[in-house]
Symmetry: C2
Amino acid sequence: MTSCLSASPHNCQNCAAARLCLPMGMDHLDLPQINGLISRRVHLEKGDVLIQPHDPFRCFFAVKQGALKSHTIDYVGREQIWGIYLLGELLGFEGIDTQTFPYYVTALVPSVVCEIPYEKLMQLIQAMPALQHQMFKLMSQRFSMDVGLPRNNSSLERLAAFLLSISTRLQRGGGSGAVFDLPLTRQELASYLGMTLETVSRLISRLKKEAIIAVDGKHVEVLSMRGLQKAAAT
Amino acid sequence: MTSCLSASPHNCQNCAAARLCLPMGMDHLDLPQINGLISRRVHLEKGDVLIQPHDPFRCFFAVKQGALKSHTIDYVGREQIWGIYLLGELLGFEGIDTQTFPYYVTALVPSVVCEIPYEKLMQLIQAMPALQHQMFKLMSQRFSMDVGLPRNNSSLERLAAFLLSISTRLQRGGGSGAVFDLPLTRQELASYLGMTLETVSRLISRLKKEAIIAVDGKHVEVLSMRGLQKAAAT
DNA sequence: CGTGCAATTGATCTAACTCAACCAACGTGG
DNA sequence: CCACGTTGGTTGAGTTAGATCAATTGCACG
């Protein structure tokens, strides 16, 4: 764990994620108070571990830059990825009930996260009903996100659905939607989608051959959004 | 939709789910206020539809009796089950963000649900911080529940994990944990777990043959909790 | 007492896994 | 500067878990 505390001039008022994160829909005058919640901003390099299983739950984290994964280690040592967190997305909801985190959270790329103490947030919510609604909205979003990735259906459908999900989420964060960089390796993609890395590779090649996407490593261009939606077939 | 409004003497003070639902951990004196939230108690027969996709979101529902499923219909007409809701569990979180429900919710067995208007709940939370924490806890639980069912691993592991999940959830509601009735058909089980009903049937037969469970239709007895945990291998 | 639905079991087939070879990009140390 | 190992990705060949197709049974219900 090589994360470091930052003294940089980050704040919610000028944050790229303000349209997505806690500040979304809030009055501009309330932003300083929300910004005041942040106990620190943690800078992470690729591979840095933010959270370990059984760490006590005291804070949520908001993704200010970069991308992270939540994951566990299997009884035979294999990694199982549960969630991907992109710009403006909150993580840590799973910790409230048991007061401990059930998984690792690791940076997929160089990232910055804002630490939001649970108790302070609860207090501010009492004073700021709009913030309460926003928290419920963010949690609701997260529920719906997982609904987007069914268990049945073919590997191709799952992969296409995931690409669409990443595309729209990065688009909300300011991306074009059609061009983006995957923050995961093929292996991680495979773990998240419940298939092997070879299958991921083959399916990507197939989408390439069908001219639905153009891919160079982790760089993806969606050539036919229609084609991708059809492949996801939801 | 044959649900009916009830005039029965249901209330939170004497509810079997009080240890699980909104009242959990609340002061006894607060219960009447929580009970006052409930706009109606809906009685459902097996197969009755409580919610349809695109229904406007205005309320959560708490399961007072019975069991329900949330599900969508596939582009080829197949049912996809997303969630199972047992005694004391809240449903509807997915509706907050878009203000509409994204799925059907249907009773699996004769059921009673308590309708909790979102706006009224938000107001009471402002007056009752403990209730706020309880809501977050309930949502957190729901997140962790879905984490319990990974995508990888074998069909057997998924089925065993699901049986364990149902067992512990029904136990929290007052069941023995070792003996319970599945509220789903093999087909529904299959849809939820991402396999076919034939596979479900074969796997159940296998667990029976290995003397890990005894099964008669939907009635299940866990003979070896250790064996079941080992089969789930998490 | 038949009709229909749920469940079980068998026989075959196929999508995805496993094992394996290979390539490209990258960093490190001699 | 080049040899080297390492890591991530692609592709091929053979295998298998689970899907599909199909037949049979049991039970609930009008």
